[in-house]
Symmetry: C2
């Protein structure tokens, strides 16, 4: 609870933080837990206190695509709109590591928007951030070659998890990047030869000159 105040006081007004503490539901998840799944009703918007969440989406042909990561103090724009319109979830949110969050009930979302200016800017900032991340993904896919994208992907993963050792199989990476395992293995091996990383089973260790 004190933790909550500490975390949020820089950008939300005190009264709002109290309300969040009163109305929100504190939840915690372990690595790999599914926080929001496809086609479920979303009855709350998550406000992340610690840890990282991966947000995915499925297209018409059931291919999954990585939308973005959410870390501390961030929130999910997609969840927001889903909540507001009481729609079924079009996204899936998975805990990348141990996650704690406050679940804000959907009735409050709207109410606070008119009541607290800081909430309003928080929500809009959140939208803008997601928007920009999507744009960066778009640019990345549109203009960069796979090897560059892979490097970006790994860098981002390291940043988001805060670890130099990435615990993923080549296959998982390939799926998130929308390509095949063989291709990723090849590129990774190349990067290993360039002394930028070392490959293990289910683990990639990024070296200093990555």
């Amino acid at each position: 609870m004190e933790n909550l105040k500490e975390k949020l006081k820089n950008f939300l007004e005190a009264k709002l933080i109290e309300e969040i503490a009163r109305e929100g539901k504190f939840m915690s998840f372990k690595e790999g837990d599914v926080i929001i799944d496809y086609n479920k009703n979303i009855k709350f918007m998550p406000l992340i206190l610690s840890g990282t969440i991966r947000v995915m989406r499925k297209d018409e042909e059931d291919r999954e695509i990585l939308l973005y990561y959410l870390s501390s103090n961030e929130s999910c724009a997609m969840a927001y709109t889903c909540c507001m319109e009481a729609r079924k979830s079009e996204i899936k949110a998975i805990a990348e590591d141990n996650v704690t969050l406050v679940a804000i009930p959907h009735e409050k979302l709207d109410e606070w928007l008119t009541k607290y200016p800081s909430w309003k800017s928080y929500i809009f900032n959140s939208f803008t951030q997601r928007f920009n991340e999507l744009l960066r993904s778009l640019e990345s896919i549109a203009f960069h070659k796979l090897d560059q994208r892979l490097i970006k992907y790994l860098k981002n993963k390291a940043k988001v998890t805060g670890k130099k050792a990435i615990q993923l199989s080549h296959n998982q990476i390939a799926e998130e990047m929308g390509t095949s395992r063989v291709v990723i293995s090849r590129l990774l091996k190349q990067l290993e030869n360039e002394k930028k990383l070392i490959l293990y089973r289910n683990e990639i260790k990024l070296l200093s000159d990555f």
Copy 2:
């Protein structure tokens, strides 16, 4: 003015429409006019009454990317956030054909958000729509081959302009799709051979079985 009421009365409350008429600035643009340019201060948010706007964005290496089209009754989420934070424009908006719009001054954006529930939902819907369009672009680039994307691009262009004859050079198309002219020429020629369209100089006529 009557036109305005007619257009908006289905999703905005009457009092708000009056305010829009009072506070907004009516503007019109001709095909090709630049409505918003990079690095300019955005002092208003456009609410489109008729015509179509193309919204572009530049990345770090100065490559332009097509974000989306805006048509009647739609509005630009990017402009909104720019306005709210009095930021310089990161986007460019160009009139695809003759356009009329109401320019909403930025002070009002925020005020109306708390004052009119219909404005709030309008803005959020607008965000969600843009969001979804971006996602569709992302999926398209990530999973579809260029020929499929080109077909989608042409279909969308035809829909947006309401014309079966698309007035663009191969080069313009290539730039919007982030590839080279030669590639587009080749694909277009292929589609012509399949009797799906006819090529002219600066014009592509879509045939019935496109």
